[in-house]
Point group: C2
Chain length 309, copies 2
């Protein structure tokens, strides 16, 4: 078996508050590509990989796969862990970390299955230029909806309107009153709010929801890593407006993956959907890229290239 | 047409904070029982009434009805307003303000339709001895569930366990740590939380929900009339636990009323369900009874007898 050097990104300790680069370390060891193996515990995340050796009948050497991998150059993936084989390679492989992978499935199942989106509805998306948000907005536009998104820089808001085809967008950092900003963009209220951020945005959205509105809750990134989360004060709106607010995780919807590919691959091939990635090169730049996510430095889906095919 | 004296309960002005008796006035006027009529605006609420004169083909003199009436001895009901005719009079008429009326329908639609209750699940009910809560708990027990409720006095908690057949109950005012109280009663977590109170109770419940739990939101009585509602900080639990939290109003479910009567009338007649009312006599005692609701003075469904048949 070949011996290879294997760089990994590991955490020094539990992270309190938002992660800092100094919380992470790059370590290098020499390993043998042989089952079983395993030592440190590097960070986990979704990645695209090529099978080098397999003890599972469904995967053979040379297969391309996507799924949960670790932040290292060579990974041992337990057989219980779901990996999806990549069959379509006429699109960039990095897309399987995004539009054709977990974020794509998250957007699709969140807006259609959890959000029960209907043609012509008014849709608001927070973190709208991110990996999931940009797809949610475009799926809703393709469904004949009115779509507005929020993001944290002018550059991102411009992307929403000029590249992703949203009907409107605003920079939440420049709005002194989020309630007023939403009223400006939604004269008749919001039918579906795709929730990515939580906190103050959610509180303002609750005041602007329409009767029988839905809030698929995908994430609350503004609240993670806060030692004391912000309180949400407008939940009584759930009653008067008969709102359904529902958290979900994409793992519950992977049975829809084949149906999703049938939906999204033609859109990509026919250029009917835009997809923006923010590419960082090299495992060494992983910690900075991760830290940047929490301050909104990335524009589009953050991808870290560990190796090219 | 007969001239009658008509006592009414009216508000002096908008109420800020919780209502006080001094916010309300009893006024008496002489009116003619003739359509159309109408002057002051007394408080509204659900009541049982007898038709004295009708301009609507569905209602004739002598019919007993329940629905939204006003806090006065004689009411003019607009034809657009839904009234339900009372066909079954072998049960107390006051039940049509409760178990056979709006609160009964609220409990039924909330726990079964919105809450999607399944046999054997773990159910928590707040304001559990109230008009709705006592029925929610008993419906859940009849469905083979484990049921615990919270209430605000020892007397009420005793009712839950000794009269309504709950598996457990606690006085939230005597629990220094609601999270700990819930953990004590729900070793394996809560599948369905029937939400009547909001605020701190909701925050503690979110920490104790099970995966794929449901929270039908019926009311948040601890939050009404607060100038600044308490913030709910544990909403990120919605995501990890894939919780569905859904506000509802009973008006969306009145098409199920015949089905509900088929379900609940036999339970009442066969003594399989307990129902506790707190009866105040006379319109003059209405303001005190209303004020008492907000401090939890009532035990069971608060009923105000304006007149007996």
């Amino acid at each position: 078996m070949a011996q290879v050097k294997n760089k990994q990104v590991i955490l020094n300790d539990y992270v309190s508050g938002f992660p800092k680069e100094t919380d992470m370390n790059i370590v290098e060891s020499t390993i043998t590509l042989k089952l079983p193996e395993g030592s440190n515990e590097p960070l986990g995340g979704y990645g695209v990989a090529k099978v080098l050796e397999s003890g599972h009948p469904d995967y053979k050497k040379g297969d391309l796969v996507w799924g949960v991998t670790k932040w290292e150059e060579y990974s041992l993936v337990p057989s219980a862990q779901i990996l999806f084989k990549i069959e379509n390679t006429d699109v960039p492989l990095s897309y399987y970390t995004g539009i054709l992978g977990m974020p794509g499935m998250t957007a699709y199942s969140g807006i259609f299955e959890v959000g029960s989106l209907k043609k012509g509805e008014n849709v608001f998306v927070s973190a709208a230029s991110g990996a999931v948000g940009q797809l949610v907005g475009q799926f809703a536009k393709l469904s004949g909806c009115y779509v507005v998104g929020s993001a944290g820089t002018k550059e991102k808001v411009d992307l929403l309107k000029n590249k992703f085809g949203f009907d409107g967008g605003f920079n939440y950092k420049e709005e002194p009153d989020l309630n007023e900003a939403l009223k400006r963009h939604f004269l008749e209220g919001i039918d579906v709010y795709f929730e990515n951020v939580g906190g103050k945005t959610l509180d303002a959205v609750l005041l602007n929801m329409r009767i029988h509105g839905r809030i698929p809750v995908c994430g609350m990134i503004s609240q993670y890593n806060l030692s004391q989360p912000e309180g949400v004060t407008n939940l009584t709106s759930l009653i008067y407006k008969r709102i359904r607010m529902q958290g979900f995780v994409v793992a519950d919807f992977y049975h829809l993956y084949p149906k999703f590919l049938e939906f999204v691959l033609p859109l990509i091939r026919e250029g009917k959907i835009e997809y923006v990635e923010d590419i960082a090169e090299g495992l060494e730049n992983g910690p900075a890229a991760l830290v940047g996510l929490f301050s909104g430095l990335n524009v589009g889906k953050q991808v870290l290239v560990v190796a090219r095919e």
